[in-house]
C-alpha cells in the first residue's frame, strides 16, 4: 500500500521545526496520528487534543492543527473528561507520556477506564522521564540504566495494556512508533480503530527515548534502537510459533504487539513469552 494522498498533512501546523531531540520518534507519532485522523473522515474542527507535561506533551501542543490543550503534569485525562462531558460530539484525544499518564497520572487513567469515558488515550512510552533528564519511571524496563538507576532498574515495570484491559477497557493496542517490520500501515490502521472505538480506547506507542534511554543502554542510534525493538516486541500473530528468549533489557520476556479487546485475549497471546 502506498500513501500518495497527502491530505493528512492538513492536520499538522505548517512552518515550524519540531523541538524534539534528533532521532526522537515523537515527530513520527505526530505524523502517524495525522495520517490516521485523516482516515477516520473527521474534520480538524471536530477533534480536540489534550496533552500533559513532558516531551510527549508537545506532540500535539503547537503542532496538531486542531484545538489543543496542554495541561499540568499527569492530569490531561481529567481535563479531557470535563471537555468530553460538555461536548460529547467532539472527538477528544489525549496524547501524553508514560510518566505523565502512567506514573504521576495513573489514578486518572484508572478511573477514566472504569468510567468508560469516550476518550482515545495515546501514550508515548519512551521508558522514562525524557524531559527532566532521563529518570526512571513506572514503565522503565527491569535492569535498564537511567539517571536514577545507575545500577540498573530494580523495579518491575507496569504493563499498561494489561492494566487498562484488566479494568475493562475494550480496545487497547501496542505498536512501535517506527515500524520495525515492513510497513507502518498496520499501526495506522490500529490508530484508526482506536479513534473510531465507542468507549474508552487506549494506544501505547513504544518509542524509546534515544537521548536518555538509548545512549545509556548501548543503543545510541536509530539502527541499534531498531534492533532492540525487534527483539523486544513480538506480533500477536507470531507468538504461538515463537521460542522467545529473554532479551537483555526486558529480562522478563517480550512485549506483545497488536490490538487487544479483552484481558483474556491479551493473556492468551502473552502467556507464552509475554511479560509476566
Amino acid at each position: 500500500m502506498k500513501e500518495k494522498n497527502l491530505n493528512w498533512l492538513r492536520w499538522i501546523k505548517n512552518g515550524q521545526p519540531l523541538q524534539f531531540c534528533p532521532s526522537c520518534q515523537y515527530g513520527t507519532i505526530l505524523r502517524l496520528l495525522a495520517c490516521a485522523l485523516e482516515k477516520t473522515g473527521l474534520e480538524p474542527k471536530q477533534v480536540m487534543a489534550v496533552s500533559g507535561i513532558g516531551c510527549a506533551g508537545w506532540i500535539t501542543d503547537r503542532y496538531l492543527k486542531t484545538d489543543t490543550l496542554h495541561t499540568t503534569h499527569g492530569r490531561p485525562i481529567s481535563f479531557a473528561t470535563g471537555i468530553k462531558l460538555v461536548r460529547p460530539d467532539l472527538k477528544v484525544i489525549v496524547v501524553s507520556g508514560d510518566g505523565d499518564l502512567a506514573t504521576i497520572g495513573t489514578n486518572h487513567l484508572v478511573h477514566a477506564v472504569r468510567r468508560n469515558i469516550n476518550l482515545s488515550v495515546f501514550c508515548a512510552n519512551n521508558f522514562l522521564y525524557g524531559m527532566t533528564g532521563g529518570q526512571a519511571g513506572a514503565t522503565t524496563p527491569r535492569n535498564a540504566i537511567t539517571a536514577t538507576t545507575p545500577q540498573g532498574n530494580p523495579e518491575q515495570p507496569l504493563d499498561l495494556i494489561k492494566l487498562v484491559l484488566s479494568l475493562g477497557c475494550s480496545m487497547a493496542s501496542r505498536y512501535p512508533a517506527m515500524p520495525i517490520g515492513k510497513s507502518p500501515y498496520p499501526t495506522i490502521d490500529a490508530i484508526v480503530k482506536t479513534l473510531k472505538h465507542e468507549g474508552f480506547s487506549f494506544f501505547e506507542f513504544i518509542s524509546p527515548c534515544v537521548t536518555h534511554f538509548g545512549r545509556k543502554n548501548e543503543m545510541p542510534n536509530p539502527g541499534k534502537l531498531k534492533e532492540y525493538l525487534k527483539d523486544l516486541l513480538i506480533r500477536k500473530e507470531d507468538i504461538a510459533s515463537s521460542t522467545s528468549e529473554p532479551t537483555p533489557l526486558a529480562k522478563n520476556g517480550k512485549l506483545a504487539q497488536g490490538t487487544f479487546e479483552t484481558l483474556i485475549d491479551y493473556l492468551r497471546f502473552t502467556e507464552k513469552g509475554g511479560q509476566q
Binding site: K4, S23, T66, I83
Partner: protein
C-alpha cells in the same frame, strides 16, 4: 550533502528533496527506507532505487523529506488565529467593553436572567445559598470530591441539576482532577465550579495556578475547617486565607471573596461567576463551617444580572492553542523568552489592578474613631454584635473585607483615622493582619484557634483593654 534529486522512471518525474532547515541528520530514514536510498546522516545516496512508496515522507520525524509534488510542508510562517490573542487580552477593560458591545446582540456579555427559584425569602444554610447563587449565575458544570464540611454543596447541586436537567455533574477521583475537569469544561464554554475544604484545597493548588495561567474562568468554594492537615473536620477556622491568595507557585493572582452570612453566600457566588467570566480568571470563595451550616433567612431577587463570556471556546473550529507554559498572546508556547515571561506576568497583574478598582468592602469608620476593628468572614458578625453591645457610638469603627484579593489597601488606608488603634480578630494565628500592617500602624492581633467561632464578648474585652491602654 542535502539537495534535490530527480529520478526518471517510465518518464515520470519524482522529486525527492530534503529540507536542510528541518533535517537533524538523525538517520531514521536509513532504517525505514526499504530501498536503501538514504545514508546514515540523511544524505540521498541512491535516488534511482526509489520506488516512490512515500514512506519517508510519512515517517521522517521532522517532516524534512519532501516527496512528490506536495513540497509545501512546513514552509512559510505559522499563522495562529487571532482568537487566541483575544483570549489573553480579556481582562483589559477597554477591550472588554469594545467586545461586549459587539457581542451583546448574540446574547453574550451582560444580560438580565430570571432566578431559578421563585423570588422571595428562603431559610437555608450558607452551603445551600452558594448552590442557589451558582445556579442563578448560570453554572452548568460541577466536578468534585466529597469532604466535610463542603459535601452538601455537591449533594445539593447534583439534585438541582437533576430537577432542572440543565447541568452536568461528575464525582471525580480526587480534588486535583476536579479542578482539571472544571477547567476543561470551562474552556469548552460552560460556567463551572467545584467546592472543597482545606485538605482538598491544598491538592487543588497546581491546577488553580493553571487556570490563572490560561485565563480560565471557574469558581472554587473553600469551606474552611480547622487545620492543619485533617485537623477537626466539623469545626470552623479561617486558616486558608494566605493559601487562597498566595497558594499556587509563581505569581498567580486570582480573586478571593469572603461572605459573612448566607445572603452573601448567594450574592457573592453570583458575583464570583460574573467576575470570573468577565475577567477570565478563577475566583475563590472562602466560607467556613459556621457560615456553611448555619441556616438563615435569605432573599432571592427575581432578576439577576449575569455575564456571559465573550471569548472563543473549544469546539468552535478556531484552532485554539491553550497551554500552561508561558505563551505569547497568540497562544504559542514561549519556553525561554524573557520578554514573553515578563509580558505575561505584567498582563496578569494588570488584570488584578483592573478588578481592584471595584473593591468589595463595608467600611463604617469616622474621623473620631479611637478603635477600628477590621475583619472578614463569620468573625465580622461577632464584631458587629460586639460593637452593638459596647454602645460606644463614634469611638469604634469597623471594616469588613469581602473581597480579600485584590486587597483593598487604599480603601483601608483612607478610611482608618491615623490615631485610631486597629484590632484584627481572626480564626487563625494571624494572617489577615499581615496585609493590614501594610497600611495601618501596629495593628493588634486577636487570634483564636480552638476550632470555635470568636464570640462577641472576646472582642468586647479586647476593645476595652485596648482603650484602657490608650488612656494610660
Amino acid at each position: 550533502m542535502f539537495g534535490k534529486l530527480t529520478t526518471k522512471e517510465n518518464n515520470e518525474v519524482v522529486k525527492l528533496e530534503i529540507n536542510p532547515k528541518l533535517c537533524k541528520q538523525c538517520g531514521w530514514c536509513e532504517q525505514f527506507c526499504p530501498k536503501k536510498v538514504f545514508g546514515s546522516r540523511g544524505e540521498i545516496l541512491n535516488a534511482e532505487a526509489c520506488s516512490k512508496c512515500g514512506l519517508c515522507q510519512l515517517l521522517c520525524p521532522e517532516g524534512a523529506i519532501l516527496f512528490g509534488e506536495q513540497s509545501k510542508e512546513r514552509q512559510g510562517t505559522i499563522q495562529f488565529p487571532a482568537c487566541n490573542a483575544l483570549r489573553s487580552n480579556a481582562g483589559r477593560p477597554n477591550l472588554l467593553r469594545q467586545v461586549s458591545r459587539e457581542v451583546s446582540k448574540f446574547g453574550l456579555g451582560w444580560s438580565i436572567q430570571r432566578s431559578l427559584s421563585e423570588p422571595g425569602p428562603y431559610f437555608i444554610s450558607g452551603n445551600g445559598a452558594c448552590v442557589r447563587g451558582a445556579l442563578d449565575a448560570g453554572c452548568q458544570f460541577y466536578a468534585g470530591y466529597p469532604i466535610t464540611p463542603a459535601s452538601e454543596i455537591m449533594q445539593d447541586i447534583v439534585k438541582k441539576f437533576g430537577q432542572t436537567s440543565i447541568g452536568i455533574f461528575i464525582q471525580m477521583e480526587d480534588e486535583i482532577s476536579s479542578v482539571g475537569a472544571i477547567i476543561g469544561a470551562s474552556q469548552t464554554g460552560v460556567k463551572s465550579m467545584t467546592a472543597t475544604s482545606g485538605p482538598g484545597f491544598s491538592l487543588m493548588q497546581e491546577n488553580i495556578g493553571y487556570a490563572v495561567m490560561t485565563d480560565t474562568p471557574c469558581v472554587i468554594i473553600n469551606v474552611q475547617r480547622a487545620g492543619p492537615s485533617t485537623g477537626q473536620a466539623t469545626r470552623p477556622a479561617f486558616g486558608d486565607l494566605m493559601q487562597a491568595i498566595w497558594g499556587c507557585h509563581g505569581d498567580s493572582p486570582k480573586i478571593v471573596l469572603a461572605p459573612t452570612n448566607a445572603q452573601e453566600c448567594y450574592d457573592l457566588t453570583i458575583k464570583a461567576f460574573n467576575l470570573a467570566e468577565m475577567y477570565l480568571t478563577p475566583v475563590i470563595i472562602l466560607t467556613d463551617e459556621t457560615i456553611a451550616h448555619l441556616r438563615e433567612r435569605i432573599e432571592i431577587p427575581g432578576e439577576i444580572r449575569v455575564f456571559k463570556r465573550v471569548v472563543p471556546i473549544f469546539g468552535d473550529g478556531q484552532e485554539l492553542t491553550v497551554t500552561g507554559s508561558t505563551h505569547y498572546s497568540n497562544g504559542l508556547r514561549a519556553a525561554s523568552d524573557p520578554k514573553a515571561q515578563q509580558d505575561l506576568l505584567d498582563r496578569l497583574k494588570e488584570k488584578m489592578e483592573n478588578i481592584g478598582r471595584h473593591p468589595i468592602i463595608d467600611i463604617n469608620c469616622h474621623p473620631e474613631n479611637k478603635v477600628v476593628i477590621i475583619s472578614c468572614g463569620f468573625t465580622a458578625r461577632s464584631v458587629a454584635k460586639a460593637v452593638y453591645n459596647l454602645g460606644l457610638d463614634n469611638k469604634i469603627g469597623t471594616a469588613v473585607i469581602k473581597m480579600l484579593w485584590p486587597f483593598p489597601f487604599k480603601e483601608i488606608e483612607n478610611a482608618v483615622p491615623h490615631r485610631a488603634k486597629v484590632i484584627v480578630p481572626e480564626m487563625n494565628q494571624g494572617q489577615l493582619i499581615h496585609l493590614i500592617r501594610e497600611v495601618c500602624h501596629d495593628p493588634i492581633p486577636l487570634n483564636q484557634t480552638d476550632g470555635l467561632p470568636i464570640e462577641p464578648k472576646t472582642i468586647q474585652a479586647a476593645v476595652k483593654s485596648c482603650m484602657e491602654k490608650m488612656r494610660q
